[in-house]
Amino acid sequence: MITIIDYGLGNLGSIKNMLKRIGVKSEVTSSETKILKAKKIILPGVGAYDTAMRRLKELDLIKTLNKKALEDKIPIMGVCLGMQLLLESSEEGTEKGLGWIEGSCYKFKFKENTELKIPHMGWNFVFEKQSNSIIKNFENFKFYFVHSYHAKVKNENNKLLVAKYGYEFDCAVAKENIYGFQFHPEKSHKFGMQLFQNFAKI
């Protein structure tokens, strides 16, 4: 059973649908009691950094999430904005992130006269920086991205996957039981299914 955190931001239905397709049970909840019992957590998210952190505070979920991530050490996966929240901060806002992984998020910056648009939207290939069971069987994998800010982790050993858009950026991060993915696996066909399958098996 995977517990998907519902804090009013993001496309929870699509994640649930894909998990259902690969035969993994999931629940969508914002209940503290249920989250405390969770064996695996997905933290989704679409929208603004500050809005997301404030929602988590309003729902009084930060303490619970900290306990699950840092004490119980259950597998936790942040997706899209949910990944950015795992880091310490973002140029997008003033709120602090969850800070489980050292690093911050920065807006894409390109040289003038570039044809590159912001947000970065579309399919990109991803490249492995280190092996990890969560990205097992990833070969020529591409994912669907939509984002204007990108992660930059402090420690090289938290870097899992990178993608190129103007320059190389961290698109997947990991630290022990904590994983984060910038792209949308739930909208990335078999590539996303493989990722969720790997997460389910951890």
């Binding site: 649908n17 579309g122 066909h189």
Partner: protein, 253 residues
Amino acid sequence: MALKRVIPTLLLKDSTLVKTIKFNKFQYVGDPANTVKIFNELEVDELCFLDITATNENREPNYKVLKEIAEESFMPLSYGGGIKSFEQVKSILNMGFEKVVINTSSLAQPGLIAKISSYFGSQSIIGSIDIKSNWFGKKVVHTNSGKVHTDITALDLAKKLEQEGVGEILITSIDKDGTWKGYDLDLIKEINDVVSVPIIANGGCGSIEDIRNVFSIKGVQAAGVGSMVVFQKQGMGVLINYPQKEIDNIRDA
């Protein structure tokens, strides 16, 4: 770089899929949710659904069908047709669509695009322009699924859409729609020169060559395909298909 996308643009007539020629002669194609299942298997980049009768019948988007589509789809989705209000947009995005497509309402509902863009972000909105040549050969914007002609030029509307905050512009040539004769490259180039938002070229695609040609225009980030992915060949029966390998060969990695 993000890969250039090839997007099936699928036409809904309320609850069924159809395909048109020059925005007329509706031919039945199939059931939307089943078609999504096939496009999942074919690993399509993205799907665009356009309900071409909603506006003219003055009805709501068919939420029941949209829900079925969203539940089946493991790829990004956009929807257009009959959207007049912010509330409708909210419902559609909450269902699991990434983007909405605004055409008639870009002129009929001033301020709607700006509102959607500032609330959900520009990436959530595609401005759509349908263009047809008039008696004098001048290309002008049509709204209401081609039924209403305006005296606005495509260039002016494209600039307006960009200013109001769309994230992409879908350009459809009514003259080319369903003809398999290739995109209106001059039109696409002309519009691409005056805006910096990415362009989705649409109308007339009949072969991989056509896609290659339109991708050679810088700024064209995506190509809409219709007849080619729903019919076996021109004039032949329905066959949902997507030449993934050929597409991979012609786009930038």
